[in-house]
Structure formats: C-alpha cells, structure tokens
Symmetry: C2
Subunit: 262 residues, 2 copies
C-alpha cells in the first residue's frame, strides 16, 4: 500500500480508492465495481468532497425516517462494505436492524467474503469507545446486528435473475430500506412494493437517485456517520413532507456553484 | 461479454466500459485504471457524451498544431490503447509520427502487451477502407507508424522513477506531444521542457488539463476521430493564439448547462 501523507488535501479520497483496489484484488468486488467507484470519485470531487447543505438535510430526514420505521434494513453491496462497513454496523446497532448483503452480480464467494469482512469489522467496532448519547447496551446492540444475505429465501417482486434474491427477514419484510450505491432497477422495484427507499448516491442524476423516497447525495461513509450523529443527538425529529426532487435540484446547484468557483 | 442492444442510449459508453474491464482482466492495466475510467465516465456523462462546442474548437487547434509540428508524437497509456488504439494509429499514419507507450505504473509485461495489442489494431486498420482526403500511400503510412516504448533509452527531466522513462526517438526529441489521459506531474514536466503538450482529458479541472498548451475536454476516441477528420478535410488551418484557460472555462460552462437542463 502506498503511504499517503497526512497533509495531502485529498487523503480521504485516496484512502477510499485504496480500499476499493484492495477489495477488488481480494475478489470481493464485481469487475465493474472499480469503475463505479471512479464515477463516485468524480461526483464527490464536484461536490467538494464534503457533505453539502442539501445532503445534510437529506441525512437528517433519512435518520428520522429510519428511526420511525417498523422494520428498517440496511442493504449493502461490496463497495459499501469496503468503504463504510463499520459505519453500517454502528447505524444498524443504533436502529436495532439487520444488514443484508445484496449484490447485483451475486456469487456465493463474494457474499460470504463480504459477510466475513463485516464480522471482522464488527470486532473493530466492539473495540471502539461507546458513542455518547446511546441509551442501552451499545456492545450488546453491536453484537446483535443480524448479518443477512448468505441464504436468500425470498424474491424482490418485479425483478428477474440473481439480483432479485433477498432474505425474508431483511429486505423481504422491511418497510424502510437504506440502500447505498444501488442499481436503478432494484430501487424502482422496491419503491413499487411500497417500501420507503433511502438511497445514498453521489450522482444526483442516477436513476436510483431519481426513484428514491429520500436521496442522500453524499459519500457513503460520510452519510452513515452523519445519520448516526443525528440519531445520537436528536430525540424528537420526525419525518417531514419530503420533496426529493427539489433536494436533488439543490445538489445539482451545489455542483454548479463548485464549478463556478474554479 | 454482455450483449448491449443497439437501441441503448448509452451503448457507446457501455462498450467502452467493457473494453476497459476486459483489458484489466487481460493484465493490460494498472490496478487503478478502472477507477480512472469511471471518473472519465462521470465527466463524459456531464458533458452529454458528445463532443461539445468548446472541445470542437480545441480539436481543430490541436490538429493544426500537430500538423505544424516538426516532430510530433502520440503518447499512449493502457486506457488509451484499449479505448482508441486504432484512432491513435490512423492519426499517427496521417501525421507520419510515432506512437509511444508510456505508463505511469510501468511494467515490462504491460508495455509489451500494449505494443502487441497495437500491432493487432494496426492489422485491423490496414483492413479498413482508405480514408478520403489522404494524399499519399495510406497503407504504407499505417504500416510505417513506429510503435515505441519497449526499450526506453531517455528520461523526462524533472521526473523521478519509472514514469520518467521514455524513448529518445519519441517523447525525448518531440516538439509536440499528444497525451491523452496523462498524469499531472508528467504533463507539467513536459511543459517545463518547452514542449507543446496537447492533453485529452474529460476532467476540465485536472492538473493535466490546467497545465496543457491545448486541452481537449472530450472522450479520447471521439477526440482522435475528430482530429483526423479535421486533418483530412482542411488544408490551411494554422495554429492560433490559443487561450487554453478560457477554453477550459467554456467546458465548465457546458457542464453547468447540462446540469441546468436536468
């Protein structure tokens, strides 16, 4: 691994890139996952590699909706586990919800490799200092996060092939699904099943972004961290009448502002 | 390989992605080449996946400068050979100039693999219909394009390590260098040697884009094809006083217009 000096202005982006390259070399990613990551890098660059004001509002909305849901679930793919698996575990521990590995190009090897990596990440999270503001037994909550996806026993209606597979306990029975870096077809199928779909996607123009109930246009680990911080700090924010189309337009305007400053 | 229907609006982009994935599986690319391609995809998407008006002007300027140069050279990396090797060969045949394989992460295997691929591409180009407007023996010109880079015998002053290596016959003695998808440091070093550096880069904000003498903000195969068409059709366009900074601002404005139409 190349050492990146702390002073490098894009250190966090370069570290993320290394995680993806290493995950790919370990066989955890589909062939085109690195290309998808590169697209994300470009959009993140255009957002200034920070959580923008509109993303901040979307994060708050998403957090309150996930807290209000009966059966939330966090759906993760390879890139999400590599970039933000620990963030997903912390968020799931707070919400008391499962994490489901759900892959577009599903192979048993990749699913089990990602589930093993999540188990390793769980060990790291258990070694961390307990977050301030959590009521209850934090470590028990982390230990109890169900990691699903190894034995799919359910199908997402309206989809064909391996990407329709999911678990009944997770995505199958969820009323609210947090899906970072999702494919557009699956996002649409989930919305058509009347589920609340919260998407994290750096491309505000992707089909997932436009299909979702709430779209967070932000890098996935920043978005997870932001949601957890909101959940830990606020006790009574409630879901609003959310205008997702206008939130996406705000994101586009933030990119335009960035370009205007160059 | 997945079959992409002709009707798919983004067919060309998806075919390019397949070429990169296959090249990576064949060991022709560095680990992060797919990530770089993904960044390019995102910027191309924001440009509308077409040659914009400002890119059109930059292509014309680049074509006339390459024609006026004493010793032009086309420097190519793995992504360029995979996406546009045949376009590079046609352009080099018109200009009577060499193509040099020059890699950031140089390994002998990748250099020789890319040189072999260029030889295969040369065979394909020789099977094509001769382009209209070329004066001379087209097939002889294609056959005579020197393919350099296998035995570097020269160094780019101001750079350290393997990426400083080049050939004297090619980059070493060139007065004008066409460098698609270049790294910023090498672009800067070449400019500091008083060479004319023509960059093709989809990111108008990259350091290469900002360092170059002429920046073509366009997809590499479209840019090569556009330059060849200009050279074949025009006989007396001459290099202008080129304002590269304002050309880049025009590209940024084209992205902003694209975003405004969403």
């Amino acid at each position: 691994m190349v050492e990146i000096p702390d002073s490098h202005p894009r250190k966090r982006s370069l570290l993320s890139r290394q995680k993806i390259v290493e995950g790919s070399l370990r066989g955890l990613l589909a062939d085109s996952a690195m290309i998808a990551h590169g697209r994300g890098e470009a959009f993140d660059y255009l957002l200034g590699e920070r959580t923008t004001d509109s993303a901040r509002l979307a994060i708050r909305e998403a957090a309150s909706r996930l807290r209000s849901a009966e059966d939330p679930v966090i759906s993760v793919n390879g890139n999400t586990v590599l970039l933000a698996g620990k963030g997903a575990l912390r968020l799931a521990a707070f919400l008391g919800c499962p994490i489901e590995v759900n892959l577009y190009y599903r192979t048993p090897e990749r699913v089990s490799g990602l589930l093993s990596l999540l188990e390793e990440q769980r060990v790291s999270v258990l070694e961390e200092t307990e977050p301030t503001g959590f009521e209850g037994d934090w470590r028990a909550s982390v230990r109890n996060v169900p990691l699903l996806g190894g034995s799919p026993d359910f199908k997402i209606e309206g989809l064909e092939g391996p990407r329709s597979h999911c678990t009944e306990e997770g995505i199958g029975s969820a009323d609210s699904i947090l899906v970072p870096l999702e494919d557009g077809d699956r996002c649409e199928a989930l919305v058509n099943l009347d589920k609340e779909v919260i998407v994290i996607d750096l491309n505000p123009l992707s089909r997932s972004s436009r299909m979702a109930t709430v779209t967070i246009v932000d890098e996935v680990s920043r978005a997870f961290d932001g949601m957890l911080a909101d959940l830990l700090s606020e006790s009574n924010s409630v879901p609003s009448e959310w205008d997702n189309a206008s939130s996406i337009i705000d994101s586009l305007n933030e990119i335009k502002e960035f370009l205007s400053k160059r």
